[in-house]
């Protein structure tokens, strides 16, 4: 298997390289990081809905759609990427998605352990320290290959991450930023100012290469040859254009920001016959948290909505419909023009 230990590369190359290698069917491990920041969205996402394009344009932050799953992320040179390209029929690649991630996240766990961070695997594809994510990963089938991509997060720019996302108002943006900060850690935070500086990019990449070498078999140091350069040029024409970036993605009701596996922050606005309902909440491991309801409608008694929020708080998502109906039936409340069905429009996930 080929090893491309490239260090800092132009931002486009940090994406085009693995797409090219997969399309060429060349099994390899790429280790690189972007020399300038950019935003990268998942294959299924709708860029208009997910990314604040005006902010990105004003700040010269390019946006790229990858052919790999997952959500929108802000990427920069403080994140070291590993990109593993395997043939679909390679016997070392488990067929089950969960088994695949578990197997190929192990080298990344080992590197964290070597530098003194007790990272653990969390299904399906997260690496966590206590409850905080420390590496983002994703996978896709490109050409005849499986591509597994992820990063070592030396440091993270929480402010810019929360700024590049399209978010309807600043209050909700603060919530998103706070939630990401609480749930995403970095090598710098885990090791402290002095220790984290010991681990520079070449050293960490060497450790990643050694760790993957044990799983994949010998890695042969390689350089970008003409075949790869030509394929990357070809992909540049098809992937760095508006038609690819703005292709129709999944439409999502309201604003949903996935912070890590099992944690989403949601804002929804619903126009019911009785007025406008607005809600912000998190869904953590299938339960509603931090439920906040406001809007422009009448309710009697006045605290009905606060009581409803209390009912929904900690409620499992599967039970929310019956919890709202029970609330209407067992309490003497009057919210004209707003039915349990309207609340479900707001809270369904």
């Amino acid at each position: 298997m080929e090893l491309y230990n490239l260090g800092k590369v132009p931002w486009e190359d940090s994406q085009l390289m693995y797409h090219a290698l997969a399309q060429l069917g060349r099994e390899s491990l790429c280790l690189l990081s972007p020399s300038t920041p950019y935003v990268c969205i998942g294959f299924h996402q709708d860029v208009d809905q997910e990314v604040d394009l005006n902010f990105c344009r004003a700040n010269d932050i390019p946006v790229f759609r990858r052919e790999v799953g997952g959500g929108a992320v802000f990427l920069d040179g403080n994140q070291l990427f590993f990109q593993l390209i395997l043939k679909e029929n390679n016997p070392i690649a488990p067929k089950r998605i969960d088994a695949f991630y578990k197997k190929f996240l192990q080298p990344v766990i080992n590197v964290h352990h070597r530098i003194g961070i007790p990272a653990k695997y969390k299904p399906v594809n997260d690496l966590v320290v206590k409850h905080r994510k420390i590496s983002g990963t994703g996978a896709g089938e490109i050409g005849d290959c499986i591509v597994f991509v992820g990063n070592l997060i030396i440091d993270f720019d929480y402010d810019t991450m929360s700024r590049v996302l399209k978010i309807p108002d600043e209050k909700f943006r603060d919530k998103v930023r706070k939630t990401i900060k609480e749930n995403l850690t970095t090598i710098r935070q885990e090791l402290g100012e002095e220790k984290y500086r010991q681990w520079d990019e070449p050293t960490l990449n060497q450790m990643i290469a050694e760790a993957f070498d044990k799983l994949s078999g010998p890695l042969k140091p390689s350089y970008k040859d003409q075949e790869i350069v030509t394929k990357m040029k070809e992909l540049e024409a098809s992937m760095l254009n508006d038609a690819w970036l703005f292709q129709k993605g999944k439409r999502v009701a309201g604003r949903v920001v996935k912070v890590r596996s099992g944690l989403e922050v949601v804002q929804r606005i619903h126009k019911a016959p009785g007025g406008l309902i607005r809600a912000e909440f998190a869904v953590e491991n299938g339960k509603y948290k931090d439920v906040n309801i406001s809007g422009d409608f009448f309710c009697f008694p006045k605290d009905s909505v606060d009581r409803l929020a209390t009912v929904i708080e900690d409620c499992p998502a599967d039970n929310v419909s019956s919890a709202i109906k029970d609330f209407y039936q067992t309490n003497k409340i009057d919210i004209p023009g707003i039915t349990p069905g309207d609340w479900m429009q707001v809270f369904k996930i």
């Binding site: 294959f43 089950r96 998605i97 399906v124 994703g138 996978a139 999944k250 439409r251 009701a253």
Partner: protein, 140 residues
């Protein structure tokens, strides 16, 4: 037919990557089978290509995403895509709930209906193929 917890109706035709096909008059309806949806976990996105897209048997024509894994959908026969299930655009998890009815994915106008004979259909063949795949996936 229920085999080791996987439901594969005998009246359907199956593509080897675990997509089912049902003949409805001159057209074919296809979707993901129970084995594939259980292996995939929560489906979060189904790509619905444009109507009229040409399909080549055994080749990728769309993508489906689950658990941060972007996988391929293979054409079971040669033909043309005539419709995608638009409900999956907003609620792809329907596949996890009802993969053979509400969770259908695409309607196809086949070039030649006889190509159905290239798919897995005989109950004994379905059982053999599924048991082999259960074993392959178990080895992990």
């Amino acid at each position: 037919m229920k085999i080791k917890g996987y439901n594969l109706p005998e009246d359907l035709y199956y593509e080897k990557n675990h997509y089912w096909v049902r003949k409805e008059g001159d057209i074919l309806v296809m979707g993901m089978d129970d084995f594939a949806q259980q292996m995939a976990g929560d489906i979060v996105f189904v790509q619905i290509p444009f109507s009229g897209k040409k399909m080549k048997a055994g080749k990728k024509f769309a993508q489906v995403e689950s658990g941060k894994w972007l996988g391929k959908v293979y054409a079971p026969v040669n033909g043309k895509l005539i419709e995608g299930n638009e409900e999956l655009e907003t609620d792809p998890a329907i596949i996890n709930q009802d993969c053979y009815e509400k969770g259908w994915m695409y309607k196809i106008e086949p070039s030649d209906l006889n190509e159905l004979n290239n798919l897995i259909h005989d109950p004994a063949d379905i059982e053999k193929w599924l048991l082999e795949d259960i074993e392959k996936y178990k080895q992990d």
